[in-house]
């Protein structure tokens, strides 16, 4: 469904991705793991069009989406939940959800989608007319995911959904991710919490300073690679790291 080939991306003079290739098949939950500065978020930003890659190719459903505008990529069915739950804090929960759905204009479907979201996230219904900024971190994350789902994405990209949440909330979020996967939504999940991510993922890629270090199933990964080394072993080549 999504094929990324030899993708290179940079922030000015600093190269963040040195030609990475990865693939996400329909219905799969693929985890993208790695330390800070490995290039995980850069990969997602390149896919959804916020960042212009330097070289390589990105294909989605047989169509090249390289250098397309974010709004056209969204219309093709790729929806992203940005890192740090970038919801709109002064807009109400209802308005945030409406923004997720603005690509589909059918009103009847919108009401139905809303009901579905309330079934998934009951808290959002209670807080419908409150500003997003008044929600707790976990609620904001739910809102961000619900907003992304409102556009009926074929591929949902989650950037660090567990970041800064309480342990209970992390459990809830991963439970939810598992549930979305069971519903057949294709998911590309970026996580620092490798252990949790591997439990729900079908396949995983490990990124290290802009290179793919490993790819395979979680079982293979556990066998072949010491997870801790990915995070703590560190590479000596710090010059290419950027804070994402």
């Amino acid at each position: 469904m999504l094929t990324v080939t030899e993708l290179q991306a940079s922030y000015g003079a600093i190269t963040a991705l040195h030609g990475i290739s990865l693939e996400v098949n329909e219905g799969e939950l693929v985890a993208l793991l790695g330390t800070n500065g490995a290039g995980k978020s850069t990969t997602l930003k390149s896919i959804c069009g916020v960042l212009r890659p330097v070289q390589g190719s990105i294909e989605f459903a047989g169509e090249s989406i390289m250098n397309k505008k974010p709004e056209s990529i969204l219309k093709l069915g790729i929806s992203m939940v940005p890192e740090g739950r970038e919801i709109f804090t002064s807009l109400t929960v209802a308005e945030n959800l409406r923004l997720g759905a603005y690509t589909c204009y059918e009103r009847s479907r919108y009401q139905q989608d809303l009901k579905e979201m309330f079934a998934l996230f009951p808290i959002l219904e209670e807080r419908l007319s409150q500003p997003g900024g008044l929600l707790s971190g976990g609620e904001q994350q739910q809102l961000a995911i619900a907003r992304a789902l409102m556009s009926h994405p074929k591929l949902l990209m989650l950037d660090e959904p567990s970041l800064g949440l309480s342990p209970t909330m992390v459990d809830n979020i991963f439970e939810l991710i598992g549930m979305l996967r069971d519903r057949g939504i294709t998911i590309l999940l970026v996580e620092q919490n490798a252990e949790r991510a591997l439990k729900v993922a079908d396949r995983a890629y490990v990124l290290k300073t802009g290179h793919i270090e490993f790819s395979g199933t979680p079982a293979q990964l556990e066998k072949e690679l010491d997870i801790a080394s990915v995070y703590f072993g560190g590479s000596k080549d710090k010059s290419s790291e950027v804070t994402l």
Binding site: M80, S90, L99, Y102, Q111, S129
Partner: protein
């Protein structure tokens, strides 16, 4: 069920706007029946100011971008509408260098106002695309520079505007009721815009430009179309003002007036329509009272020296106090909720 929207909900959602319109119309009836002409004048002026401030709110309030250029579009609307509606003989006498083609134009005021709005919107459409790419301080400075450019053109292009001299003889058209009707229409338009998909996306981009981009909002395009729409209101508002005041010069559309409109918007709260409304009322009433006070002080001999600029200084101080005390304005970013409106 909260998710079910009934017709009642829809009416209550708009209750704020309905109430504001009711207040406007009611006060107009009272003014019309009982008040002395001075009050009617002030009220007409207030309604015309309200149209301008609501137009400013449409773009600035929802995008968070300080729009200095706005008053320039008010000026364009005022000149275009006046050129269209003023009789040829008056123009030939008042603006000696005017292009013959412009002198010949003569039409009723209503279409003239609309043409004024369209020309202002067209100028905005022609210049705004690069401007809308800029944000923060750079954006503010550029919009300010754009106002200077518009002002210089207005003062120098004497074949159209009569240069820095007064353009006079504009037919009087903006009566109390015309102004009130215009203000009511603009209130509804500003509300519909704010709640529309475009307005919502614009507010999202104000909240967080990068997040808006990430969820597929074309921030530049959203700003652009809102800026053009806002400039249309500016143009029509300028036309109404010109047909109220009947003689004016380009200096009526410069920094002092831009500052006054900004103050009206910011004092009440740029984020909401009720904020724009209350700010306009507060600043207009305050200005009139201070003007009276200034006149009385200078004429009665209570003090031995003459006072000038009391209104300007006071309005500026009001702005400073509000910005320190309540940076979001008196009303703030969300619409006032009426006591009888359903609590959500």
């Amino acid at each position: 069920m909260r998710s079910k929207r009934t017709i009642l909900d829809a009416v209550l959602d708009r209750s704020t706007i309905v109430a504001l319109i009711a207040v406007l119309v009611l006060v107009a009836f009272v003014m019309n029946a009982f008040a002395p002409p001075v009050f009617v004048d002030v009220y007409t002026y207030l309604c015309v100011s309200l149209i301008m401030v609501l137009g400013l709110q449409m773009f600035m309030g929802n995008s968070g971008i300080l729009n200095w250029t706005y008053v320039g579009f008010v000026g364009i609307g005022a000149f275009v509408a006046s050129i269209c509606s003023t009789p040829a003989a008056v123009k030939a006498m008042g603006v000696p260098n005017m292009y013959p083609a412009l002198v010949e134009i003569n039409m009723p005021v209503l279409p003239a106002l609309l043409i004024g709005g369209f020309v202002a919107a067209a100028v905005a459409a022609a210049v705004a695309w690069p401007l809308m790419r800029l944000s923060d301080a750079v954006g503010v400075i550029t919009l300010f520079a754009a106002l200077i450019v518009i002002h210089v053109i207005m003062t120098q292009w004497d074949n159209v505007t009569n240069g820095p001299r007064t353009f006079f003889g504009v037919p009087f058209f903006t009566t109390l009721w015309i102004a009130v009707i215009g203000a009511c229409i603009t209130l509804v338009a500003a509300h519909l815009f704010r709640e529309s998909s475009l307005g919502l996306r614009l507010r999202a981009s104000r909240d967080d430009r990068h997040a808006a981009k990430a969820i597929g909002i074309n921030v530049v395009a959203v700003r652009y179309f809102s800026f053009v729409a806002s400039s249309f209101i500016a143009g029509v508002g300028g036309g109404l003002w010109a047909h109220y005041i009947t003689s004016f010069s380009p200096k009526s559309f410069y920094i002092t007036e831009a500052f006054l409109l900004l103050t009206m918007l910011v004092v009440g709260g740029a984020g909401s329509i009720s904020g724009a409304f209350s700010g306009t009322v507060i600043v207009t009433v305050m200005r009139e009272l201070l003007r009276q006070l200034e006149g009385w002080l200078n004429n009665s001999g209570v003090i031995s020296f003459e006072v000038y600029g009391l209104t300007e200084v006071s309005v500026a101080i009001l702005l400073i106090v509000i910005l320190i005390w309540r940076p979001g304005g008196i009303i703030g970013g969300s619409e006032i909720r009426l006591p009888f409106a359903r609590k959500k």
